[in-house]
């Protein structure tokens, strides 16, 4: 007897949740081994990771704060992928955005906030789009694959930050390679008093809504989807394939760059080389896990925010290595995507060869 996967024709409503639960159990069992090995208690570790961030206002707002950059990169990746433009460079574009934002932030001493805030956002967006421009032109003009170019521009963006921080933007007070704190007038206002949740989140949600509207409801979005699904057929239907790709790439870069602004102006208030903990790469996971849906990306980003906050709590409370939090995340990621696929199939046992 050999197992074979066959597409199931109907799906009982409980299968999805049941399989997700199974994924959670597998994750728990696997993680429990490592957590035990590190001397921690698996059950409380899980409580810290997944439940306690949602139990307090502090935990919750910190979770959405952590999710904020992922909202931007998730949207940036999703819109590019929807158009069939494989932008693996959201990381670099976000970093470019932080550069633009910082430049405004440290030079805009005497502006009123009403000008300073839009300016710093705009600067990040423009820089992100510019960072996306070269790979996009190479792709649309010369047919050069964007995966390599966007990917390799990521470390270069980080090196530019490093160069700026070791050079002209070195902290004038400490001499440490992090920039001066940006001027108050360019810092994003807090939108939830008493917490650190800032305007960046609201902008991220608006971006998600705009993307959702544009891609799903507007003429340009239909063109974008057609180009992404079948560029050949789109070209035959007279759609401007190259222009669509170019514009989408720039929009994607701009959104990622805006995410950079949001980080600099919203939380960090200064530029450091560690400003992004791989938000661009995580954005790829966020968007693909959400099957490139925007609303889905928003939810997944929030989930990632919760887990990020939770795993630090678990690590601190139980004195287990903080990397175990990442370990649990990775196992959960793999088991959940497996479960989502498995639920579509049923296993059929077939007779083997005689």
């Amino acid at each position: 007897m050999k197992p074979r996967f066959a597409l199931r024709s109907s799906m009982p409503w409980w299968r999805g949740p049941a399989l997700i639960a199974a994924a959670a159990i597998v994750t728990f069992l696997l993680s429990a081994i490592v957590i035990r090995w590190a001397g921690g208690d698996p059950i409380s570790a899980f409580r810290y990771m997944f439940i306690s961030p949602l139990q307090t206002k502090f935990g919750f707002t910190e979770s959405i704060l952590s999710a904020t950059p992922l909202v931007f990169t998730g949207a940036a990746v999703a819109i590019a992928f929807r158009a069939g433009y494989w932008n693996i460079g959201a990381e670099g574009q976000l970093l470019a955005g932080t550069i633009g934002a910082t430049w405004i932030g440290i030079h805009a001493e005497s502006l009123p906030a009403i000008i300073g805030v839009p300016l710093i956002l705009l600067a990040g967006m423009i820089c992100g789009a510019l960072w996306a421009l070269v790979p996009a032109l190479l792709r649309t003009r010369l047919g050069i694959d964007e995966v390599v170019t966007t990917l390799l521009l990521n470390p270069i963006a980080l090196l530019i930050i490093s160069g700026l921080l070791n050079g002209p933007w070195r902290n004038s007070e400490t001499g440490f390679p992090d920039s001066d704190v940006i001027s108050k007038s360019t810092q994003l206002p807090i939108i939830w008093p008493g917490t650190r949740v800032h305007l960046g989140l609201a902008i991220g949600v608006v971006i998600i809504a705009l993307c959702w509207w544009y891609v799903g409801k507007m003429a340009g979005g239909l063109k974008l989807r057609a180009v992404g699904m079948s560029p050949g057929a789109a070209r035959i239907a007279g759609l401007p394939v190259e222009r669509t790709l170019l514009i989408t790439a720039l929009v994607s870069g701009g959104i990622a760059g805006l995410g950079g602004s949001s980080e600099v102006a919203g939380v960090a208030h200064q530029l450091t080389t560690g400003i992004s903990s791989g938000f661009g790469y995580t954005g790829v996971i966020v968007a693909t896990l959400a099957a490139l849906s925007f609303i889905g990306s928003l939810c997944i980003a929030l989930l990632f925010g919760v887990i990020t906050v939770g795993s630090f709590s678990a690590s601190r409370a139980l004195q287990i290595p903080s990397t175990i939090g990442e370990f649990v995340q990775s196992v959960l990621l793999l088991t959940v995507v497996a479960a989502l696929v498995i639920q579509k199939y049923r296993v059929v046992w077939t007779r083997g060869k005689k």
Partner: protein
């Protein structure tokens, strides 16, 4: 001048070794139509397990075997997810990378560094056959003298290679021809993962002799880029690896020259990446992706 040139060539062979291994592994995998973004993680996990085992057993060979077994295990997980289940390859690959790195870092902490230690071994030493160019580790020799031609033979001249290319281009056609698509893709992923594992193990067991977090530091991503740069051709891939490594070795020497010593070092560090992008822009357009790239195959 000649000496410096020789030094640069010698250094680039070293730098290129893990890159070439990982990139060749990725090439074999991608030729079967599967993108393995787990390359960074497989290198990382193998580098760790390799040295951890070598340190515990006192045998570098055992360490290498453990590294390869780790690579194979990771490859199997990845193959199960992407080939058997048909999970999105981007997610599975990135997830695998996260998994391998976080596991290695956790294990490293628990086993070695929690109280200030570090795992290290007396690594393999380079042979010295005269001159900097020929002073290389056995893995480097094995890579360029055995693995490269072997891989070329595998892909161009063996039945398995033909099958791998066929399932990567048109799995339906391969299936109709009686080829077991699943088995072929598993095989390609496994071979690829073993190469990646060897690349990771090279760094800890031969080149450095110790493990610190971040040991791979993005070399897997570079390997990934080299495959596309090489347009899935071994010759071009090696040319890309050579370009990257030569510029890398060259920039190290460049900074030491008095006339370059005030150039911000970041510019020099960015050169290898720029070189690959420029190389691509000058030479490569319309990338011939394998026909079934990223597409799971399932019969009805």
């Amino acid at each position: 001048m000649i000496e410096v040139t020789q030094e640069i060539i010698g250094a680039s062979l070293r730098i290129a070794t893990p890159l070439a291994l990982a990139a060749l592994g990725e090439l074999v995998t991608e030729k079967s139509g599967v993108l393995n973004l787990g390359v960074e993680g497989i290198m990382y996990g193998s580098a760790f397990v390799g040295i951890a085992t070598a340190a515990q057993t006192g045998s570098l060979t055992t360490g290498l075997i453990a590294a390869l077994v780790t690579g194979a295990a990771a490859g199997l997980i990845f193959a199960f997810l992407t080939v058997t289940l048909g999970v999105n390859q981007h997610v599975a690959g990135l997830g695998l990378t996260l998994f391998m790195i976080s596991f290695s870092n956790s294990a490293n902490r628990i086993m070695f560094t929690a109280d200030g230690g570090q795992v290290s071994v007396d690594p393999w030493r380079p042979f010295n056959f005269g001159g900097p160019i020929f002073s290389q580790y056995w893995i480097t020799y094995a890579t360029f003298l055995i693995i490269v031609p072997l891989t070329w033979w595998l892909m161009r001249r063996s039945g398995l290679g033909l099958k791998i290319r066929a399932v990567g281009e048109n799995p339906e056609a391969a299936d109709v021809a009686g080829i077991n698509v699943t088995k072929t893709r598993y095989t390609a992923i496994l071979i690829g993962s073993l190469y990646m594992a060897a690349g990771g193990a090279f760094i800890t067991l031969a080149f450095v002799g110790s493990f610190t977090i971040n040991i791979i530091n993005g070399r897997g991503w570079v390997a990934l880029a080299l495959v596309i740069f090489g347009r899935w051709k071994i010759g071009r891939l090696l040319a890309g690896a050579a370009l990257f490594s030569l510029v890398n070795a060259g920039q190290l020497q460049l900074r030491l020259l008095p006339s370059f010593s005030d150039v911000p070092f970041e510019i020099l560090l960015a050169l290898p990446y720029l070189a690959v992008i420029v190389g691509l822009a000058v030479s490569g357009r319309n990338v011939p992706y394998p026909g079934a790239y990223l597409k799971p195959y399932k019969r009805h």
